[in-house]
C-alpha cells in the first residue's frame, strides 16, 4: 500500500472520528430509570434531566415526553438510541426522522412493566442524536 494511500485513510478515519465525537457531545443524553414495585400504586418523581418513570407495579405503564425544538436553519436528522436493561421496556413513538427547521416535535417515551419484570430498579440511558441534515 502506498504511503499516500495510508495518509488518506488516516485522515478520513480521524475526520470521521472527530465528526462522530462532535455528534455524541451535542446529543441530548438522559438517564432513564424505573423501580418495579410490588404494591399496586404509582409513584411519580418530579422529572428533571432524567427520564424518571418513578415507581411502577407490574402491568402498568407510564409516559414521559421530550420536546425537540429546531431553532437553526438546517434540518436535523433525529436518531434515538437506548441502552441498559430498561431499554427492553422503553418505547419511543418516533425514531429516525427529519426535524425541519423552526419546528418542534414531542417525543413520547412510554414504559410498560411486563408481568415477568423483577422487583428492582431498571436503569439505562437514552441518547437523542440531532445530526445536521446536509444531504
Amino acid at each position: 500500500m502506498g504511503k499516500a494511500l495510508k495518509i488518506i485513510i488516516w485522515v478520513v478515519v480521524v475526520v470521521v472520528g472527530i465528526l462522530l465525537a462532535i455528534q455524541y457531545i451535542n446529543a441530548a443524553k438522559y438517564q432513564a430509570l424505573v423501580q418495579v414495585i410490588k404494591e399496586d400504586r404509582i409513584g411519580v418523581n418530579p422529572t428533571g434531566d432524567a427520564l424518571d418513570f418513578g415507581d411502577l407495579p407490574r402491568n402498568k405503564s407510564a409516559v414521559r415526553t421530550v420536546t425537540l425544538k429546531s431553532d437553526g436553519d438546517t434540518a436535523g436528522y433525529i436518531i434515538i438510541w437506548k441502552f441498559g436493561d430498561i431499554s427492553d421496556l422503553l418505547k419511543v413513538n418516533r425514531n429516525y426522522f427529519t426535524l425541519a427547521p423552526h419546528t418542534t416535535e414531542k417525543l413520547e417515551f412510554s414504559l410498560y412493566v411486563p408481568n415477568s419484570a423483577e422487583f428492582r430498579y431498571y436503569k439505562g440511558r437514552t441518547i437523542i442524536f440531532q445530526i445536521p441534515k446536509l444531504w
Binding site: 407490574r58 402491568n59 405503564s61 427492553d88 411486563p114 408481568n115 415477568s116 419484570a117
Partner: protein, 150 residues
Amino acid sequence: MVKRLTIGLIKFAIYVAFVASAIYFTPKILAKAMHTEYPLATITSGSMWPALKVNDLILMKGVSGSEVEIGQIIVYQNASQGFTIHRLVRKENGMLVTKGDANEAEDSPISEKDVIGRIVSIGTWQFHLPYLGIIARKLGPKIQELERSY
C-alpha cells in the same frame, strides 16, 4: 497483473458460492435434523420477555403435543392461523394451557394437535441468538407471535 486478478476473482466466486450454499442449505439441513419445516424462527413480540426478546433467533425442534412438558416453551398454531411461542403452564383434560411470561393472562387452551414443536434448550437455557432474527426474517419463513405485544 491479469493472472493475479483472475485468481482474485476465482477466490471471490468460491467465497460467494460457499456463503450462498451455507445460507441455502443450513435451514434445509436443520429442518431435517429438527423434524420440522420451521427449524429457525424469529421472535416478533415481547410477550416472552426476558426469556426471549424481540428479534431473537430461536432453534425449534418438531415434537408432538403429547411429548411437551410443563415449563417448556412451545410453538403452536393459533386460531388466527399464525404461530404462538409461549410457555406451557399446565395440562388439563387433554388440553394444553400456555402463557407468555410477560403476559398477565393465560392463553386459551389448545389441543395437542396444534403443537408444532418446542424451543431447543440446553439445561435451563433456551437456545436463542440475540438480533440474528432480523436476518432470518429477511431470508426464511417467518413465525409470528400473534399474542399481545407491548
